[in-house]
């Protein structure tokens, strides 16, 4: 069950900012760190832009506003809003103590396979991941960054990170299911010895999100709410489809019960195996 293409791009870009072994650290080397994930940024014209990641470097008083594009289309309205984005809107959200000095660039992050279709529809720069290299195209408004990105950085022998951004709200349920099940198993390991709980409760889903998403506090509340909703939907789907899980969940509501926790864990493992088998046979809903 590989992650969706958008989630993969998120991880690959965030990896450039994170100092991941066997993965280029182009942005980290220039002092960038991730400041916002899935934010909502207001502009002067009361418009809102929804980039995927904002990384900023205090060293260079510069921010990168990145949108990961796994599809083959550019949203013209969103593209226009990026052009209207002013550093002052960003400074408020990023909370970089740079005052008026902050500069920024908005960009798209895409794959070489899609780049030919996307590039003609925007004037914004791109960071493009190919099979063998990653490269910037266009100007990012900072000479040092332009210099680094203009040359292709090899990805031969590189290992893309997969744990920085686990799953998105619009992920297919079956792709999000392993994360939710792992979160549930973790919650069970934490909850033994405590009073009973309902795995359908929103509070439990919020807890699972906090366990599962390392950067959840950098997300806009709207995005977090959507992720909590996704977790609830996946748990609902799992309960609907599995009698054993329903039975164990009912036992968990009664109070501390290590055997119910153990059996729930077993049920989660079995469900994952079933998902694997169904995926192998192409029998999963798309």
């Amino acid at each position: 069950m590989p992650a969706g293409d958008h989630t993969r791009l998120m991880n690959m870009f965030m990896g450039l900012c994170a100092g991941t072994p066997q993965w280029p650290s182009i942005f980290l080397e220039l002092g960038y760190s991730i400041r916002l994930v899935e934010p909502v940024i207001s502009t002067d014209t009361a418009q809102k832009v929804n980039p995927d990641v904002v990384a900023a470097s205090e060293t260079h008083s510069h921010a990168i506003v990145a949108e990961c594009k796994s599809g083959k289309n550019i949203d013209a309205r969103q593209d226009k809003k990026y052009l209207e984005l002013d550093p002052k809107h960003l400074a408020h959200h990023v909370k970089v103590r740079l005052g008026d000095k902050l500069r920024h660039a908005c960009c798209y992050v895409d794959t070489a396979d899609n780049h030919g279709r996307l590039a003609p529809h925007t004037s914004l720069p791109f960071i493009t991941f190919g099979r063998q290299s990653v490269q910037g195209r266009g100007s990012f408004g900072l000479a040092q960054l332009d210099e680094k990105l203009s040359a292709a950085t090899t990805l031969q022998d590189a290992l893309e990170p997969s744990g920085l951004y686990p799953f998105a709200p619009d992920e297919d349920d079956y792709k999000a299911a392993p994360h939710v099940l792992a979160g549930l198993v973790t919650y069970l390991a934490n909850g033994i010895g405590e009073t009973g709980f309902r795995i359908t409760d929103r509070e439990v889903h919020k807890e699972i999100l906090e366990l599962a998403h390392p950067y959840h506090t950098l997300m806009h509340s709207r995005h977090r709410t959507r992720l909590v909703g996704k977790i609830g939907a996946v748990i609902g789907m799992l309960l609907d489809g599995d009698e054993e899980l329903r039975e164990q969940a009912a036992r968990l509501e009664q109070g501390a019960d290590p055997s119910a926790a153990h059996n729930t864990r077993e049920a989660c493992g079995r469900l994952l195996e079933e998902y694997w088998k169904r995926e192998e046979t192409g029998n999963l809903p798309r």
């Binding site: 979160g183 950067y215 290590p258």
Partner: protein
């Protein structure tokens, strides 16, 4: 022997002072059996043994599982309790010293076959309150070289100075330990599961001690009678270990708010294997099977050929984790609410059960 002293099989005295505790431990130390003859059949070595645990919660008064029941009783000291465990029909008592709440000690002179089983059960049950501490090879080396300590045979394993490895099923992961001998002394020490470390002067048995130190934090007195040196050695280890756990936890991946600014902090741990993993499927199935020693639950997904992500849960600490695993490299993502002990458990047990040459760049 003092009044209320400890004899083999007797109930432990309800000590009222630290001095009385040390006296009781001295009684345990001199009742050692089978020292020169080594371990008797069945692993029935008696004598003072101290287990260092890691705990994130207080010990409850009563707890247990289907095969073991435990009770905790007070003594005259707030921080010292008596833990009575009944397992397979046999009862064994431990002094439980909780002066350091995160790393409590269990002292006993019960048979090692019984006490190892009980501590193993404590560290592997469904309550997940306690864990062993996990001394990887570099840490054992450092401990052996600390001031006043001398190692017996560390780095020269074929002369019998190092302990035998504990049981493990790492062979399922594609073979291990064959490379230990040529992976250097550090690797060999880890593969054998511990080291033998002495403290004090050997002229008078009351002035020195020689402990068999296992990678899972068991300190068994083998020679000598100095409780003071035994406890000093454990204290040194505990301080070193607490520092290592804190360093790991400082590297957890998440967000930190300082001066009103949210920042991404932490980074992955990079485990390098001494030898490439030949069968990644088997390795991942073995490592994430929810059983000791790893206590990891997980499911893998292919990122590309021979490279997997693993969505995981640490059942001990109750933490979500993530792994990227290739034949030569394993990236470990410990998220903000994870426990530092988890990463040290991983490193030590990979050295013990998979590949003695396993190292982690961020853990010295």
């Amino acid at each position: 022997m003092r009044a209320g002293s400890v004899t083999v099989g007797s109930r432990l005295p309800r000590v009222g002072t630290r001095t009385e505790l040390v006296d009781a431990l001295e009684d345990m130390i001199v009742q050692r059996e089978n020292v020169d003859g080594g371990h008797p059949p069945g692993g029935a070595l008696r004598g003072l043994k101290t287990y260092v645990l890691e705990s994130d919660r207080d010990f409850p008064r009563r707890f247990g599982s289907s095969c073991m029941q435990c009770e905790v009783e007070d003594t005259g000291l707030d921080a010292v309790k008596i833990l009575r465990a009944r397992r397979c029909g046999a009862a064994t008592e431990f002094f439980l010293d909780m002066e350091d709440r995160r790393f409590p000690l269990l002292h006993t002179n019960g048979r090692s076959g019984d006490t190892d089983g009980i501590v193993g059960e404590l560290a592997g049950d469904d309550f997940h309150t306690f864990d062993n501490i996990w001394l990887h090879s570099a840490m054992l080396e450092r401990l052996a070289r600390m001031p006043g300590n001398s190692s017996v045979g560390l780095g020269a394993p074929r002369r019998g100075g190092l302990l035998q490895a504990e049981g493990g099923n790492g062979a399922a992961a594609g073979g291990q330990d064959q490379g230990a001998a040529d992976a250097g002394p550090r690797a060999d020490a880890a593969a054998r599961g511990g080291a033998r470390i002495a403290r004090g002067s050997g002229a008078d048995p009351r002035g020195f001690v020689q402990d068999d130190v296992r990678s899972n934090g068991r300190f068994a007195v083998r020679r000598g009678e100095s409780v003071r040196e035994h406890l000093r050695l454990i204290d040194m280890c505990r301080k070193e270990y607490a520092g290592a756990v804190a360093a790991v936890e400082k590297r957890r991946i998440g967000v930190d708010k300082r001066d009103g600014v949210m920042r991404v902090v932490g980074g992955q741990f990079d485990f390098q294997f001494g030898r490439s993993i030949e069968d990644l499927d088997a390795f991942i199935s073995w490592m994430f099977s929810s059983t000791p020693p790893f206590m990891m639950w997980g499911t893998k997904f292919a990122i590309r050929e021979n490279y997997f992500g693993v969505i995981a849960a640490d059942l001990h600490a109750g933490a979500r984790m993530h792994f990227d695993i290739a034949p030569d490299l394993m990236r470990v993502y410990l998220y903000m609410r994870g426990c530092g002990n988890t990463v040290l458990r991983l490193l030590t047990n990979l050295q013990l059960h998979h590949d003695a040459g396993t190292t982690c760049r961020q853990i010295g």
